[in-house]
């Protein structure tokens, strides 16, 4: 088994807020991230697929295909958007756009495309919000 990772970046804004909570509780739990006017990050997305290298091409997966899939499934929706306001995955009451939930959303968007292609399997999605903070999802494992 060989693991292959493709990195991509996107820029987006967000805020953390739970409607059912008071302003005070939102501020207590989410701190500065609860500012309703939002704030932004340059995110780095790392997508790792796992598989055996093809005996002829030596590829685990065609990197150009993976790059295009990341752009189509994730970046086209997330890049230069407000995650709370522009992306259905994070509509109010659905999911707070934490780094954890962004990693899960990216996985859910990418997994059907990778699976439909056959061969390599999606192994891990890691999302860096800043160089010092990241979340990852391995399909719940």
């Amino acid at each position: 088994m060989v693991f292959l990772t493709r990195r991509a970046t996107f820029s987006a804004s967000h805020f953390y807020w739970i409607e059912a909570w008071s302003k005070e509780k939102n501020e207590q739990v989410f701190g500065r991230c609860s500012n309703r006017n939002g704030h932004g990050h340059n995110y780095t997305l790392e997508v790792t697929v796992a598989g055996e290298p093809d005996t002829v091409t030596g590829y685990v997966i065609d990197l150009k295909w993976l790059k295009d899939a990341i752009e189509r499934e994730v970046l086209a929706s997330f890049d230069h958007r407000h995650l709370n306001l522009d992306v259905a995955d994070f509509a109010p009451g659905k999911a707070v756009p934490t780094t954890e939930n962004i990693a899960i959303a990216a996985w859910k968007r990418l997994e059907p495309a990778v699976n439909a292609r056959g061969g390599a399997q999606l192994h891990r999605v890691r999302v860096y919000e800043t160089p010092e903070l990241f979340a990852e999802y391995r399909g719940g494992k």
């Binding site: 939930n101 899960i104 890691r126 391995r138």
Partner: protein
Amino acid sequence: MSDGVGKAYFGRRYLMSASHRLNAAERTAIENREIYGQCNNPNGHGHNYFVEVLVGGEVDRETGMVINLTTLDKAVQARVLDRFDHVNLNCDPLFQKQVPTTENLCRAIFELLKDSLPAGKLEHVRVEETENNFFECFGESKNQPANEARV
């Protein structure tokens, strides 16, 4: 989104600066010089260490979090950074009977943190001594290949 998605991971990187000298008390001065080379310099030397902490757990259905980063920060600050940042590692009680290699530092940090996290489970500690070398500890869980934790 957070319903029934299983486990996810939250990682955070911390910077700390410390000095150390690698010298095994059981070995002669010549042997120590051979084993540790420049790291055996009698007056020690220092590094900017990056400590990467990975916490695994269920994503809270409401908050969307594995662990709140401020609570993780407080735990790491209290257990690790207050202890090791801007100190001479050789002076710490932990390194009186073991050499403060970054392997031993990494394991020490894992042990100090594993029972003090307010949520989630400590999966992995990685300590980068320079940008060209790093050390990883997965605790008692079965060792994973490096590409399981970081590719």
